[in-house]
């Protein structure tokens, strides 16, 4: 009886699975993935803790002001109590995933493609009985799997900290929202992994590919949202232009109707970036954006499905490109 017959069908190693398992083992062995995950975890934890400390300061200020008003025999209704939604404390952490998570995905993509080139093992691997797309699919599966694992660790750790730090604990609905954010974060970071992976696999010099991937990251993650944010008239004057002019919200909307074209261009620049879609989706799901705070998850997902489609279509499009581009082992020898 052959060995293959002894292995149940579901465990039969396929080339894709073998390549993926090998890549994951390699990545865990050299501790690179653990180091970058720890870095992202640290950045996210710093964001969570500083946000919580700032909120505690706001609460203390409110309590002191309220006590003063009550001591003076006045009503405490004159001052607005700080709102507390525990998931809102994840804002900084989400922004760190948005920026540093995407940068880490680029590094994982680069290493995934460059490792075989550096060790001159690519040509050897391609002599094995497998199709070239299976090699690429295995590598991509491993990279996205590592990202998913790293993000699960980071978000899981943050959830635990938030549960014990918030004082009121997290419910099933909160955990579901964090799980949804995790899934979208995996798809979002996968986009950057795939950009870097494709470039590093096909450009002559892998180190040049890494720098080009960083240029893409700069443009999509930092520059496009920054331009959109900077062009927001309310961000031009400290405290906001309308606040300085003492103009109420309904009147602001009326005035801004005359700037529809400007706002369309501004919105277009922001929306050209997958990062902005990720931010809008996660901020809505977690209630970070005030209009979505306390809203059930279902209607939020319906309203945000455009952002969700954008993120997943970007990732799927990049997967298609990665699988479709022909591999040239001669060109991909160590540069």
């Amino acid at each position: 009886m052959s060995d293959a017959a002894l292995i149940p069908a579901r465990l039969t190693p396929t080339p894709v699975r073998t390549i993926a398992a090998k890549d994951i083992r390699d990545a865990l062995r050299d501790r690179f993935i653990l180091i970058v995950t720890a870095f992202l975890g640290l950045a996210a934890l710093v964001a969570l803790v500083t946000g919580a400390i700032a909120l505690r300061s706001d609460v203390a200020t409110y309590e002191a002001a309220k006590a003063t008003l009550l001591a003076l025999g006045k009503s405490a209704d004159a001052i607005k109590a700080p709102e507390f939604y525990p998931l809102r404390l994840l804002r900084g952490a989400i922004e760190q995933i948005e920026i540093i998570g995407a940068a880490i995905a680029i590094l994982i993509g680069y290493r995934s493609a460059a490792s075989e080139r550096g060790r001159q093992t690519l040509a050897l691997m391609l002599t094995r009985p497998m199709r070239r797309w299976q090699f690429v699919a295995g590598k991509a599966l491993a990279g996205i799997g590592l990202l998913a694992g790293g993000l699960a660790l980071v978000l899981g750790g943050l959830t635990l900290v938030l549960h014990f730090m918030s004082g009121i604990g997290l419910g099933a609905d909160d955990l579901l929202r964090i799980a949804v954010v995790w899934g979208v974060a995996v798809a979002y970071t996968a986009c950057f992994f795939l950009v870097s992976f494709i470039l590093s696999l096909h450009m002559k010099q892998p180190s040049h590919a890494l720098l080009v991937a960083f240029a893409v990251w700069l443009t999509l993650v930092l520059i496009a949202p920054q331009i959109g944010d900077t062009l927001d008239p309310d961000n031009q004057v400290a405290g906001g232009v309308f606040k300085q002019l003492n103009i109420a919200k309904p009147d602001q909307v009326e005035i801004m109707k005359g700037f529809a074209t400007f706002e369309t261009v501004r919105g277009g620049i922001e929306q050209a970036s997958v990062t902005k879609h990720f931010e809008r989706f996660t901020f809505a799901v977690l209630g970070i954006k005030a209009t979505y705070a306390g809203m059930p998850l279902g209607p939020i997902l319906t309203e945000m499905r455009g952002n969700l489609i954008w993120i997943f279509l970007t990732a799927l499009g990049l997967i298609a490109i990665a699988l479709a581009l022909p591999l040239n082992p001669d060109r991909l020898a160590k540069a």
């Binding site: 870095f39 640290l42 950045a43 710093v46 964001a47 500083t50 946000g51 400390i53 700032a54 505690r56 300061s57 706001d58 200020t61 804002r91 900084g92 922004e95 760190q96 948005e98 920026i99 540093i100 940068a103 680069y110 290493r111 460059a114 180190s207 040049h208 890494l210 720098l211 080009v212 960083f214 240029a215 700069l218 443009t219 930092l222 520059i223 949202p225 920054q226 331009i227 944010d229 900077t230 062009l231 008239p233 961000n235 031009q236 004057v237 400290a238 232009v241 309308f242 300085q244 002019l245 003492n246 103009i247 009147d251 009326e254 005035i255 801004m256 005359g258 700037f259 400007f262 931010e279």
Partner: protein
Amino acid sequence: MQAAPSPGWLIARQSASFVLRERTVALLSGMFVVLVLISAWLGWSATSTVNRIYLDAAAFLQKSGQPVPSNPVLDISPLSLLRNMSVYVALIGALSAIVIGNRLVGLDRKAGVLPLIGIRPLGRNAYAAGKIAALAGLILALGAVAGAVAVATFLVLPAITLTGLQWTQLAGFMAVTTLYMAIFGLIGLAAGAGARSETVGLLLPVTLWLTLTFILPQLTANLNPTAAINPISALAIPPDTSFFHWAAVVLGPVSLADAYKFASAGLLDYLPQGIASPSFIPPVMTLILATAVAAAFAWRALTRLSMTEGEYNV
């Protein structure tokens, strides 16, 4: 008879011309120049939009019989048109400088020419001085391009006239900008010379840049990463708690992105009243000290570079 050029000068000239041939350096430097141009346009566009909003709002307030406040644009110095440049310098300028620094020594290591240079009649000090001089020349060139765009913006835009003091402030901003890029260039040089592998030599300074730009401002002023890249939102007052007070005391002096941000806001006249740098060391002094420390690291790494080994070890 003309005197032969010094070894340091030869190294500097050869390294700079070698790096300029690199397509990635050209790509990032090109991006930096384009973004500097965009920053000038953004400043003009955003300010003129606020002015138009004010005119519409003033008409609206007048019609509804409410008092009309003063135009916030009139309170803004013309220099603040360039406020976005400080963000792009902190992002792409710093990253370009890291890559230039890294490539200056990385190309020699990768090409395996160090043993060849080592047998020439020049000391390690001349090699180190040549590399640092090449970096200084390239960073100065980037700074000069940014400066030329800034000057051209103020000369071309109508109805904007700078006073003598404002021109001096602009020169100061360009000097601080060049200094900030030089710090990251020197860190890139040090990491490129000291790291065992090419990738680590690039990743170490990039990690440091990420930490300085996105993590330290959160600790010193509770500033979220996306706020840190908006020139106005980045100038927030830290929460009044003992944690942020001590974080500013301990981390303020090393929070270089904060120092550059506050130095730029001060020089370009967009620092809101009552807001100051979280550090007890003045921002410009922080940047000067950081340049000296980064230069010392670069010098140490370059003078300890093994001239007997050709390539990277791994």
